[in-house]
Symmetry: D2
Subunit: 342 residues, 4 copies
Amino acid sequence: MISFTCDYNEGAHPAILERLVATNLCQEPGYGADRFSQSAQKLIREAVGCPDAQVFLLTGGTQTNSTVIATMLRDYQGVVAATTGHIAVHEAGAVEYTGHKVLTIPQHRGKMKADELKAYLEGYYADGSHEHMVFPGLVYISFPTEYGTLYSKKELSDIHAVCHEYSLPLFVDGARLGYGLMSPACDITLQDLARLCEVFTIGGTKVGALCGEAVVFPSGKAPEHFFTMIKQHGALLAKGRLTGIQFETLFTDGLYLKIAGDAIDLAMQMKEMFVKKGYELFLDSPTNQQFIILPPEAAKALEGKVAYEVWEHLADGRTVVRFATSWATTPEQVAQLSALLP
Amino acid sequence: MISFTCDYNEGAHPAILERLVATNLCQEPGYGADRFSQSAQKLIREAVGCPDAQVFLLTGGTQTNSTVIATMLRDYQGVVAATTGHIAVHEAGAVEYTGHKVLTIPQHRGKMKADELKAYLEGYYADGSHEHMVFPGLVYISFPTEYGTLYSKKELSDIHAVCHEYSLPLFVDGARLGYGLMSPACDITLQDLARLCEVFTIGGTKVGALCGEAVVFPSGKAPEHFFTMIKQHGALLAKGRLTGIQFETLFTDGLYLKIAGDAIDLAMQMKEMFVKKGYELFLDSPTNQQFIILPPEAAKALEGKVAYEVWEHLADGRTVVRFATSWATTPEQVAQLSALLP
Amino acid sequence: MISFTCDYNEGAHPAILERLVATNLCQEPGYGADRFSQSAQKLIREAVGCPDAQVFLLTGGTQTNSTVIATMLRDYQGVVAATTGHIAVHEAGAVEYTGHKVLTIPQHRGKMKADELKAYLEGYYADGSHEHMVFPGLVYISFPTEYGTLYSKKELSDIHAVCHEYSLPLFVDGARLGYGLMSPACDITLQDLARLCEVFTIGGTKVGALCGEAVVFPSGKAPEHFFTMIKQHGALLAKGRLTGIQFETLFTDGLYLKIAGDAIDLAMQMKEMFVKKGYELFLDSPTNQQFIILPPEAAKALEGKVAYEVWEHLADGRTVVRFATSWATTPEQVAQLSALLP
Amino acid sequence: MISFTCDYNEGAHPAILERLVATNLCQEPGYGADRFSQSAQKLIREAVGCPDAQVFLLTGGTQTNSTVIATMLRDYQGVVAATTGHIAVHEAGAVEYTGHKVLTIPQHRGKMKADELKAYLEGYYADGSHEHMVFPGLVYISFPTEYGTLYSKKELSDIHAVCHEYSLPLFVDGARLGYGLMSPACDITLQDLARLCEVFTIGGTKVGALCGEAVVFPSGKAPEHFFTMIKQHGALLAKGRLTGIQFETLFTDGLYLKIAGDAIDLAMQMKEMFVKKGYELFLDSPTNQQFIILPPEAAKALEGKVAYEVWEHLADGRTVVRFATSWATTPEQVAQLSALLP
């Protein structure tokens, strides 16, 4: 049984495990003061091209989103997101649990549009009773989105410009950042991203790490006492070395982008294979998540042999499903899938 | 330079790393549905002797404490702890961040007393205006305490009886549980503990794991939808296998208690060594944290060679310091310390 | 200058002020233990026809909504409301501030539909990952709605039946309850309402009181220690007599419904007058808020003489505006408006 | 039966009721934009001698404390109070409900000491692990205190100086402010108070109003968007005229201090009477709350005729009780008490 259900089915990239083993008995201080974390932070600062960047290593995605959002907002503010934003739907109300509203605007294949964001903000401030409403205090997008889609440099720049006009910081959730940056459809670099937002994350969990999300404030403007608030949110690892070693490894010799690129290559092969065989794409995703419309006979052929994620049942008996590749996917696995598919 | 500053200076017990490597490419579902987590839960249920126990694997100590406390309390309730309780002082207000007060009662070398707990509860309910005050809703103790001290079975039973009388669940924070259970002064077993409280944790981070705390509800009475609330607290790992593999390893063939026992043996040797050399103990700790009063000449002798935690500066120029052993401490390290000490 | 901007432009019904004056120096205990509050609770229990009802007197609308919602939900739950629900938009995030998400479903002239509610709930529980999402824990509607519209007995019964099927309590926000019950279009009574929900409010602020909202749990199932949580939410008046006297007066000899009825009569006259003069209704409201489409010449004619609330500017130069009557509106004021309108 | 149990047993000063009646039908905008609120704010600015002061009118004491504290603190901060501070004990955890810890230091007859505050702050910042603890972010005292005691100008200045040294704003809870300012033992004026803190409240509920607390930021430095956060806390009255009229009346012709002074005169007479009759004072209170040690025979003599608050039962059979006067207390009532006491 092969699984394409998600991009966190396996453990960690072997180089990470090797490094964990090699450094295991070095004695290091806790809470992120270890030399691995410091090295990882330095490597990330270099990779994003921001010498003043502040980098924090947290453990999980929901944790990171709620910690960043809660600490960047004042009590009277909420975070603006597309209706399909992960924080708006799939994080068990973690943002609201910190006391803040998620303010939603329309989505288009997972993305918000700069002009609709602007219209929302204009409308908000034009409303005579807006002081009775939640102030927008931060804009949240993900790159890639929930649907595997990407913002172009132009789209991202436009959103950032609107944010700037309204003095709103932009937060880019990069839980799958590597898969976005290595997509053939991507026209931005990590350095571009760092210029086009106030805070972003570099997802480790889905791109080769056991766990870990790096939070990057490119201009070094983390919320005051962010360290204490990480602890308050239960997001501070005693053995910071665990995330330190992982990000140090991922950002040594470009490993992070390299393994993300491998996953993208296989995703594109997989897409091409589906198209060649005559399958309909639910949407033409440029990243590691491929959304396919599967007819019943195909589903039957894969039963018990290949696992995938069911997304939606269509009225005509077909099913929208998601096949995800990851750093751990092998060409053999894609070949096996191809062989099984009618 | 050898460090005795704390019990989380190193990585993980080698058996854990081996197992991580061996299972790395097995594909498993996320969020704790993996077979390693299930196996770990089964092994823990057996170890605590409670077939109905519910076991959840979280990542860190503060996270675990705030998640357990917040989910066991109703809005009008707070948690009762000794003034020195970790949650009362050193968790950056993580409990209050969830909306709940930490209600403190006196401590005696880190421990609360059953009769003082009872007096507090009696006083609370006798107060005509108690409905204007925070209701006690949970009692929190740690085993061992912040000072490395232990509750005897009698003391724990008495506290539990008071809790029972007032229908209050008892929560035992076992961040260093192994070191408590393996202390020569300890007269309870893991099974006893499970009978004497409503929820407790088995700390992994300080006893051989990279990260991870197991939350055990011995009678299977976890708060409803605890899984969703773990997510809401940002405490749900996507790759649950990480904590699953660690606790599976620690609870295979008694590894957890074995390595804790090794640390205790060395701590006892260390204490004996200090006493023999004429050093004064700040308090006679039966666990892996030893509190010693260090004269200036001893501090000078260790400078740059042995690290420890400074606890308190005394007026006479001496310093109260803490030396901690862990599963990773070696007899050689203790011998080196001994050789250096005047 | 006459104002029809809202229904809280004046002070209190004179009978309330008289009673405040008459009882001013009676010494009464605080925090709702006074005899006026007890009498008000008794009168309300009688009026709603529920001898077991629990009644609490709070001060303001947002306060009441957030206190009721927060105390009826568990941490993992949110409240379901129509997208236009007051709690979803105009309460400054007060519900989210208590840690809970407002889960929105479509609105139709301010109302939710039973079948859409059911579809939402079915979809939620059918979703394989619903445990990663906020659980619906309460359904909120208002009567009348933000648009002055009303649920029929059939509609309310259907919504209640769906709630019952999913074990969800139904909360009816009656900030303008009197104006709803006295509408010619209303086919329910206060007693019906009490049977068709688990908790509702009887708004005083907009129906003759200086301040005050009565929270009614018809079956006596208030959240445990609701009193303490009222205090925790800052919603407990030291001089409970203030709300006690007001609700005692409003529920003596049917004053509450009587004065609401007067306001409705004038609102209907006003609507008829607008229609007769050829004005277009934005929607045909059966309650005290009338939404009219005002052409520029009419706006000009009223300038400086009659105040109203601007709702929305239409592309054709006309404006959607709201004229509200209240218990304090006089026939003379409506006549003056009529005389001024072209 | 006469009651001295507290200072909120009666309604409002008659001048307030007269004014409510006289202005009842004036149409005014809601949410504090009415002319009464604006007039009250102007009068208070004049009374405190701060032309730039920002003044907000809220409804209740706990509400006001939790709103001010929550909005002045950042997430990583708590509020420092004496162990007996009202917020630390008798507000049902309202401060913690907003996510913030109350950090307690010792009390001396209800007061904190400047040097102990300083020692606490020094100790906090000297602690190497203070970033794992809650940062002090605000200092809270009440004037008068829970025990009716007062800070002298020197004591208040010293506390303010310590706050200044650590860049901490000082918040003075003046729920009974009038009774403090008019005490013969008081050596500060309202203007002094405004210079010696960053925010304070002028309590109306206990000094002649039906409800209402004025929050004063003497230098005009209210938290940004305080209005929206008042709403978020459920503390915004729709009919702001209710508090507006009350504070306008209380601050016209010095009524507030005048009626507080009358209450103080009677309290001093009462104290003298108790002393003359040989009763022991529990503490020598200079304000309207008198704490007396009552022997059983006195308690018996008052039974059913005079009500007071029981504070504490002493081992010798006597009882510490509180007799409170208020703006509504009459000389006749004190004379009756005197006549009844053995």
